[in-house]
Amino acid sequence: MSSHDHQPPPPAAPLGPTAVKLRLAMYVALAVLVALNLFILPHEPHFGIDGWPGFWAAFGVVVAMGLGRLAKGAAHTFLGQDEDFYQRREPKPAPAEPVAAAHGAHGHGGH
C-alpha cells in the first residue's frame, strides 16, 4: 500500500537572485495590501470579525496552509494509492480454453 511508504519531502532548494527579489516584492505588496486594509473596510461585515483589518489576509494564509496540510495528510494516510491500484484489483481473465478441446467436447464435427 502506498500510504505506508510515504517519505518526507526533501528540503527546499535555495532561491536564486531573481527569486529572492520576487519574494521581496511579494512581501512588500502584501504589506501594502494590509496597510490599505486599515483604511478600506467592508460595507457590511457578516460575522463581525470579518470587518477587522487584516482578517481576510489571515483567512487566506491560514486556509491555504490548513487545506494544503489537511489534504496532503489525507493523501498520505488513506486516500493516496499507487497509480495501478484499480488495475491490480481487476479480476484476472480466465485462461482461454484450447480451441481443439472445446470443439471436441461438443461432439459435433463439421460438414
Binding site: 519531502p9 494564509v61 491555504a64 489534504a71 479480476p91
Partner: protein, 587 residues
C-alpha cells in the same frame, strides 16, 4: 431571418456532412456551425416556438427566454472556440460526436417539456461517451463505460420521474417546481439532474472520465454537460435549500481533491465539481441575486474552464503527459501556453479585471446578504483552494518547479493557440466590461463588483493564499499517485455484479450447456437429419438461392459482432434514429 432558428439544426446537419466528407475537408465545417449558432442566438427573440405534435403529444422545442438565452449565448461561443481548437483533428468521428453532443445541449436549453428535454439529455449522454472512447486507449475505454453506465442511471432517474409526474399531474411541461409542494417524482428528476451536475456523491464519473477523454473532447465536455444540468436545475429547482448546502459542500470537496491530485486534467475536473458547486448553491439559495450569480458564473466558467482544459490539453498534446510529476520546467519552451493558461487561472480565482471576479463574488455576496453567511464562508474557503491548486500549484509544477526535464515536445498547432487566444480575450473582456454579461442575466442586476472593498478583499485573499503556497511549496510537490474517491464504491458494485455473473450465473450456464449437449443437441441433430432428407428429396432445385442468401446474411451478422460495446451502442443509436425517422414520417 426568422425569430427563432434552432441552433441544434446546424450541429445535426454538420454531423451528417462531416460523416459524408473526408476528414481533411469535414473538419472545417464545425466552426462554421458554431458561427451560425452564434448568429442564430443573437437574432432570436423571446417567445415560444417550434411547437409540434408527435405520437399524440403536444411538444415544444423552442422556449426562448432570458434564462435560456444566457446559456445559449455562451454555448454557441464556446462551440466555436472549441471547434477552432479542434481544427487540426482529422478523425471525423470526434467532430461528429462533438456536433451531436452540442446539438443535444441546445435541445435541452430550448426544451419546453420533459420529453424534448429527455431526448436532448440522452443524445448528450451517448455522444459525450464517444468523446471519451475516441481517445482509443484502454484507460479511456474503461472510463467511458463507467461514464456511460452512470449517466444511463441518471437518465433513468429523469425518465422515471417524468413518467410518474405525468401520471400524477397529467402534464409534460417543464416549469419551475415549488419546493413547498415538491413530490417524490420531482425529487427523482432532481437526482437525475444532479448526476449531470456532479453533485457529490454522484460526481465521481467526472474526474474519472474527463482526464481520459480526447484532448479536444475534454474541452467540449467541460463546457456542456454540467452547465446544461445547472440550467435545468435553475429552471426547475430554484430555491430548494438542499441544493444550497450540497453546492457549498461541492465547492469544498472539489478543491480538497484538486489540492492533492497529480494529473493536470484531473485537477481541472475536480475544479469543475467545485465551480459548479457555486452555481448549484446559488440556485438552491434561490434569491434573484444568487440566481443571477449562478448564471453569470456558468457563463464565465464555461469560458475559463474551456481555456484551462485547452491549456492542459496543449500540455498533453505536446509533451504526451498531463502528470505534474513528469512535467516541469517547460516555461522557456511553452511560454504562450503558460500565459494563456494563466489568464484562465486568474479568472477562475476571481482576480479583479478577469471574469471570475464579476461572477463568483455575486454569488457569495448574494448568499451572505440572504442570511446564508455559513454558506458564503464555505465558498470563500473554496475560493482560497481554487487559487491554491489551479492558480498556483498546477502552473508552478508544470511550467516551473525545477529544471526542464527534457521531454520531447510536439509543436502546438496554430489553431490551438487561436482557440486559447479567443477564450483568453473573452475572460479579460468580461472582467473589464461586466455589463456585457450582466445585461444577459435573467433578473435585474443591482450588484456592483468594482468597489474598493471588493477589489481589496480579493487581492488580500489571493495574495495571502500565495504566501501560504510559498511556505508549503515543498509539501505541495505532486506525487505519482491516485486518490480514492466515490468511484471506489461504484467499482465495488461493478465487481459485485461480475462476481454474481462469474459464480451463480456461470454455474447455470455450465448446467445449461451440459443439458444442451446431452439432450438438445441430439434432438436437433435428429431433426436436422430429417430436414436434410426432406431438403434433398423435395426442396433442392426450388430454393437454392435461399441458402446462398442465408449464408450472406449470416456472414454480415458475424462481421457485425465485434464484441465492442461502443460498436453496439453506435448501432443502437443509428437504429433508434432510423425508427424515430420512420415513425416521424408515417406517424
Amino acid at each position: 431571418m426568422s425569430d427563432f432558428l434552432h441552433p441544434s439544426l446546424f450541429f445535426l446537419a454538420c454531423a451528417g456532412l462531416v460523416w459524408l466528407l473526408p476528414g481533411r475537408l469535414g473538419r472545417w465545417l464545425p466552426p462554421l456551425a458554431g458561427a451560425l449558432a452564434i448568429l442564430a442566438v443573437l437574432s432570436m427573440r423571446h417567445g415560444d416556438y417550434a411547437h409540434f405534435r408527435y405520437l399524440g403529444l403536444d411538444l415544444g422545442a423552442g422556449r426562448v427566454d432570458a434564462l435560456a438565452v444566457v446559456f445559449a449565448h455562451v454555448f454557441a461561443i464556446q462551440a466555436l472556440i472549441g471547434f477552432i481548437y479542434a481544427l487540426h483533428v482529422e478523425d471525423k468521428w470526434q467532430h461528429m460526436a462533438a456536433c451531436l453532443y452540442i446539438a443535444g445541449a441546445f435541445g435541452c436549453l430550448f426544451a419546453n417539456d420533459f420529453v424534448v428535454l429527455f431526448i436532448g439529455w440522452e443524445l448528450m449522454s451517448v455522444s459525450s461517451t464517444f468523446l471519451v472512447w475516441l481517445r482509443r486507449c484502454p484507460a479511456s475505454t474503461g472510463a467511458g463505460i463507467r461514464y456511460f453506465l452512470f449517466h444511463t442511471l441518471g437518465g433513468l432517474c429523469v425518465l422515471a420521474g417524468l413518467l410518474l409526474r405525468h401520471q400524477a399531474l397529467g402534464t409534460w411541461a417543464f416549469t419551475a417546481i415549488d419546493p413547498a409542494s415538491a413530490q417524490y417524482f420531482d425529487y427523482l428528476i432532481m437526482v437525475g439532474f444532479c448526476v449531470n451536475a456532479a453533485v457529490i456523491p454522484l460526481h465521481a464519473w467526472l474526474p474519472d472520465a474527463y482526464p481520459e477523454a480526447t484532448v479536444t473532447g475534454a474541452v467540449f465536455m467541460s463546457a456542456f454537460t454540467t452547465k446544461t444540468a445547472v440550467y435545468v436545475l435553475a429552471r426547475g429547482f430554484a430555491g430548494f435549500e438542499i441544493l444550497g448546502i450540497m453546492g457549498t459542500l461541492m465547492t469544498l470537496y472539489g478543491v480538497f481533491y484538486a489540492t492533492i491530485e497529480n494529473n493536470a486534467r484531473r485537477i481541472l475536473a475536480y475544479h469543475i465539481v467545485s465551480q459548479v458547486g457555486y452555481m448549484v448553491a446559488g440556485i438552491g439559495i434561490g434569491t434573484a441575486m444568487t440566481i443571477n450569480g449562478a448564471c453569470a458564473h456558468a457563463y464565465a466558467h464555461i469560458l475559463y474552464k474551456g481555456l484551462l482544459f485547452m491549456g492542459a490539453g496543449a500540455l498533453l498534446f505536446s509533451a504526451g503527459t498531463a502528470k505534474l510529476n513528469e512535467l516541469g520546467g517547460l516555461f522557456k519552451r511553452m511560454p504562450w501556453v503558460f500565459y494563456l493558461y494563466m489568464v484562465a487561472a486568474v479568472s477562475i480565482s476571481g482576480f479583479p479585471l478577469f471574469s471570475g471576479f464579476v461572477s463568483k463574488t455575486m454569488t457569495i455576496t448574494g448568499a451572505a446578504e440572504s442570511h446564508h453567511a455559513w454558506l458564503a464562508l464555505g465558498m470563500e474557503i473554496a475560493a482560497v483552494g481554487t487559487f491554491l491548486s489551479v492558480g498556483i500549484k498546477l502552473p508552478f509544477f508544470a511550467w516551473f518547479g525545477g529544471p526542464d526535464k527534457g521531454l520531447e515536445l510536439k509543436p502546438v498547432p496554430w489553431n490551438m493557440y487561436l482557440g486559447m487566444g479567443l477564450g483568453a480575450f473573452l475572460c479579460f473582456w468580461i472582467g473589464i466590461q461586466p455589463g456585457f454579461l450582466y445585461h444577459l442575466l435573467p433578473n435585474p442586476v443591482e450588484y456592483v463588483p468594482y468597489t474598493p472593498w471588493h477589489v481589496l478583499q480579493a487581492l488580500l485573499l489571493l495574495g495571502f493564499t500565495g504566501l501560504g503556497f510559498y511556505i508549503l511549496r515543498v509539501r505541495m510537490t505532486p506525487e505519482a499517485k491516485i486518490n480514492l474517491d466515490f468511484d471506489y464504491f461504484y467499482r465495488l458494485v461493478g465487481r459485485g455484479f461480475l462476481a454474481i455473473c462469474r459464480v451463480p450465473v456461470a454455474a447455470l450456464d455450465d448446467w445449461w450447456t451440459e443439458f444442451y449437449a446431452r439432450a438438445g443437441l441430439k434432438g436437433m441433430l435428429g431433426a436436422a437429419a430429417v430436414t436434410a432428407w426432406f431438403d434433398k428429396a423435395a426442396i433442392d432445385g426450388v430454393v437454392d438461392g435461399t441458402a446462398l442468401g442465408v449464408r450472406r446474411v449470416g456472414q454480415g451478422a458475424t462481421l457485425a459482432q465485434t464484441g465492442r460495446l461502443q460498436d453496439y451502442l453506435a448501432a443502437a443509436v443509428v437504429v433508434g434514429l432510423a425508427i424515430f425517422a420512420l415513425v416521424w414520417f408515417w406517424g
